[in-house]
Symmetry: C2
Subunit: 344 residues, 2 copies
């Protein structure tokens, strides 16, 4: 945060919106009318429109004590873009609504929007609307992301077939380990504010938590190589939970091989340091924002050279259940232990 502090009330709602949106350029021909009217207008010119929305609440979804506010803006956009990519679609616009308490200065809000704009520019997305308001307590963020897809080329969760390969992008568990580290450092700091956290050696897992990257590259790779996944979902709650969604919605079972689950060296080291099982972090950790997708077996050759994609198992009949085959030769039922906001 900068040293000077401007109160938001000095600007008022319309002044604030003008201030926050004045320097933002439109990237897409599909953005017909942007911020400044009762609604925005878009035209995907014959393509279909994909829409997803997420609500992020301070103290539930993020902790401003260890989340730089610019990163928060970036991540709030990114988690929604990830849902658009998970439909095999290209994001084109977002709306961003916020409610803020008087704890947030204009300078902090500027930084938040720097993160928002950075995410938008990186993915060629236009900010076309939103709402700004006050809250009695905490920072509330609601993002709606809009994308486009060639008619009926979107990829659902419910269309996997028996025998399809289960693939995942990138590596898993890092974001959860970043969260574990930050929560631990926060506790140490609260007990003794003299001790400054040293995060330098853990920049990978911290980055996975604070600065996730929605997998635009994977969707582009699909298009360039004529690949259409049979089903797809993004990893917000951990792959156990996501794989079970694919199974349930496709009325199938699955086998996942523990040894095939991609986990980075940094995540593995951090897990051992914290006394955690790296596989459990990958299965149940969540917030990695990778893509899990199923693929016809004959398409295997098309992905085999992409180092960002791992085959971790395959779909089976529903009667066979959803199984994890461990390195030790055991077969466990996969259960969703992902994050449940209602049971915290």
């Amino acid at each position: 945060m900068n040293e000077s502090r401007t109160e938001i009330a000095e600007l008022g709602e319309f002044g604030l919106i003008d201030h926050l949106t004045k320097n933002f350029e439109i990237h897409n021909a599909s953005t017909i009318l942007s911020v400044g009217d009762d609604a925005a207008v878009i035209d995907h010119f014959g393509k279909q429109t994909v829409i997803t929305t997420d609500l992020l609440v301070e103290g539930i979804h993020f902790d401003l004590m260890y989340t730089p506010i610019k990163h928060l803006g970036y991540k709030a956009v990114m988690v929604n873009l990830s849902d658009v990519y998970a439909m095999n679609a290209t994001p084109t616009q977002i709306t961003m609504s916020i409610a803020i308490s008087n704890r947030i200065s204009l300078e902090a809000l500027n930084e938040f929007y720097e993160g928002v704009y950075l995410a938008c520019e990186k993915h060629g997305v236009d900010l076309i609307g939103g709402d700004t308001s006050t809250s009695n307590k905490g920072f509330i963020i609601s993002v709606t992301a809009i994308g486009e897809v060639t008619p009926n080329k979107f990829v659902k969760r419910s269309t996997a077939s028996k025998g399809d390969l289960i693939c995942v992008s990138g590596d898993l568990g890092g974001a959860y380990l970043g969260l574990t580290l930050m929560e631990r450092e926060k506790k140490i700091y609260l007990e003794n504010p003299q001790i400054q956290p040293d995060l330098e050696n853990e920049s990978y897992i911290v980055g996975r938590l604070l600065k996730p990257e929605a997998r635009k590259d994977i969707i582009e790779f699909f298009e360039q190589n004529g690949i259409v996944p049979t089903a797809m979902i993004d990893v917000s709650d951990g792959i156990s939970s996501e794989v079970l969604h694919l199974c349930k919605q496709s009325s199938l079972g699955c086998v996942i091989y523990e040894e095939k689950i991609p986990i980075s060296d940094e995540s593995r080291k951090a897990a051992y340091k914290f006394g955690l099982d790296p596989t459990v972090c990958a299965l149940n950790g969540g917030e990695d924002y990778e893509l899990i997708f199923t693929l016809k077996q004959e398409d295997h050759d098309k992905i085999v050279l992409n180092e960002e994609i791992s085959v971790i198992g395959y779909m089976t009949d529903i009667e066979e259940g959803s199984k994890l085959y461990t390195k030790g030769g055991n077969h466990f039922n996969i259960t969703a232990q992902g994050w449940n906001a209602f049971q915290q």
Copy 2:
């Protein structure tokens, strides 16, 4: 609220979504894929897509002490549909995200969604997605409404011309008077819980506050009669504020005649009872969700027989300012004293 109480945590997030969306039918061919995937998919088949969003925060935008939760669901949808109509567009879909504290039971949430569905059915709108989460404090509602419009037939705020008539639908000030009444009754109740409020004689203004109706009928009337307003906005912050938006964005001034501002007998009586000026309530009250639009003078004949539309003034050169001509013959500058969430 019903007598039985079910805790939301018993269902979990996905169980809750299933529960809340299971009985909802799809009304629109444009809804290609609804609730249950990473994103929804829509196709407006050659029409343009209109998008608007609003964030409603308990204690800022609504008070559950006097807002029946079913009405809250209804109103949360309606205020967004009103923004779609204000673009001269037809609403087709909404997304609804909520964050709730453990104070809200499943029974209360069912009532909330009854209101949501009632509003959707009345306007032929599909609920296609959303997000459900917890909050540490208070009920948070984020709605995105989506509509369709024939390409480039949407109506902006910035396209009024000098000499255009300024028209308004329905009557004004009622919602603010309803709010004044409810706040007064709340204060009496908090001081002495034995006194039950008697609202029967004030059902009109209470209805205007708690159950606003977005003006679908006006947009349909435009279409049936070949009317295209030159500019339009809906009344959320009071007509002073809205007329100034039209003036500023169209680079014009205006004259409004006090005697032409439509105010119902019920609102007028209530205003006098509370010691308020009915005109001030209409100008600055807000939340009426009527439409204000400008019209070419030659179109006057097309609206003159519609009793739901009043001509209240006309647009002038910007140099002439934005003026209210009072019944007493005075000319005042119009100033926006509408609701500013940041200055409460």
